[in-house]
Symmetry: C2
Subunit: 219 residues, 2 copies
DNA sequence: GTATCACAGATCGTATATTATCTGTAGCTT
DNA sequence: AAGCTACAGATAATATACGATCTGTGATAC
């Protein structure tokens, strides 16, 4: 067989995407044990590319790996949730501030609409769609950030949170309305051409508030 | 041969450290082409672990990789230098602010001594020792940062800068004295128990000023 | 009954061999 | 002379094979 599939994607990348997808949608839930040979068999490739994919996922923090033992999908305990949220608050806040001056009117209007949808969701709260809208909202705000490194760090943080948080870390009762209100405040700052530092801190505190709510709820 | 050396280090890790060391000390300078088989031969191992090491270094941004072509030590052009410095300013500033409340009197005194040595170096400027002292100074300040993710990002930024900056990006004339003065200001803030945000912005701006000096010098 | 040891199965780690792809060069065509 | 094609060498990508290490189980000694 050829070392590439029809799309010119290497088998390492194929395996990487295959595993990542399964972690993201929950088919491989936190703690699930990834066995090299088994995955290789399911994918119809040998162990070497799978091994490489696992190493890459390890570097991203999506899986943990122990020598001569194997890999398993990482689990996000409270302490790791805290450092992840803190880090994401830092980079996301900065990314939002850097992107703010270049954000278009259309994007801003779209963000307002998304936040309005989140507000309407509050009446009959649906976690899944609320989470999806929330991701869409923030992505709109920081996606034009000109610093590719920071943007990459933001994406990694989001992936880690979305893929690995179990039901334990999902939602704190009563936090959602505050979150929606904070979104409006953030949009006002951006629209008003506020000081980048104010925008950064607003976006950062928005996430840190979610973290605080979680810590207060679980103590 | 056994799959581990005497210290229980896998050959992937061995190759990783071997290559990384050579990039760090300049034996493999930016643009140097890394040939799998050649490195494997020099190390006395097969190509598979070397390949893995290269992939890990790629994830860290120390080397670039092109499918079916190979790897070479990354080159830091002006644009990449800018985003790297900006990102490092962000995470290093935050790390310093988070570490500030837990910093010991001994460490603070040591940092003052290091900065004094830097000041004395200014008379007969020696780039190599100045750079070393500068790294020591900042490491003292952020090393107790409790957020491991952020600390890791700081280390990656430093590695990338130290390993990949060619002579082009080394020093801007006249910047060093300002840098030393800014160090004192930062120490004063930390010692005085200032607001963490002030410490963060002081440390961040310290690095951004170096970036600005570079950009102004090369325009 | 508990602890220790030996063994077998499972799984990872690496070496070797094979295949696919790229790059550059020489020769041919126009 | 310029551009295209075919080929050869180099190199990466993967498969396969083998060896090393871990984990759990069951037997044995106390």
């Amino acid at each position: 067989m050829s070392p590439t599939d029809a799309d010119g994607v290497s088998k390492s990348q194929l395996a990487y995407g295959w595993i990542r997808e399964r972690i993201a949608d929950g088919r491989f839930s936190p703690g699930y044990r990834l066995v090299l040979g088994q995955i290789a068999g399911d994918l119809g490739v040998s162990a070497v590319p799978v091994r490489e994919a696992i190493r890459k996922l390890e570097a991203e923090g999506l899986i943990t790996f122990e020598r001569n033992v194997g890999a398993q999908v990482a689990m996000l305990n409270a302490a790791e949730y805290e450092v992840t949220m803190q880090t994401l608050g830092l980079v996301e806040g900065y990314a939002t501030a850097l992107a703010a001056p270049t954000i278009s009117v259309v994007t801003l209007r779209k963000a307002r609409a998304v936040n309005q949808a989140m507000r309407e969701n509050l009446a009959h709260f649906e976690p899944a769609s609320f989470t999806r809208l929330n991701a869409e909202f923030h992505t709109l705000l920081f996606e034009t950030c000109p610093n590719s490194h920071i943007l990459d760090l933001v994406h990694r943080g989001w992936t880690r949170l979305n893929a690995l948080r179990s039901s334990t870390f999902s939602f704190v009762p009563g936090r959602a309305p505050d979150s929606v209100a904070e979104h409006d405040a953030l949009l006002d700052l951006i629209e008003g051409g506020a000081d980048p530092l104010d925008i950064e801190l607003c976006a950062r505190n928005h996430r840190l508030s979610t973290l605080d709510a979680f810590l207060a709820h679980h103590s």
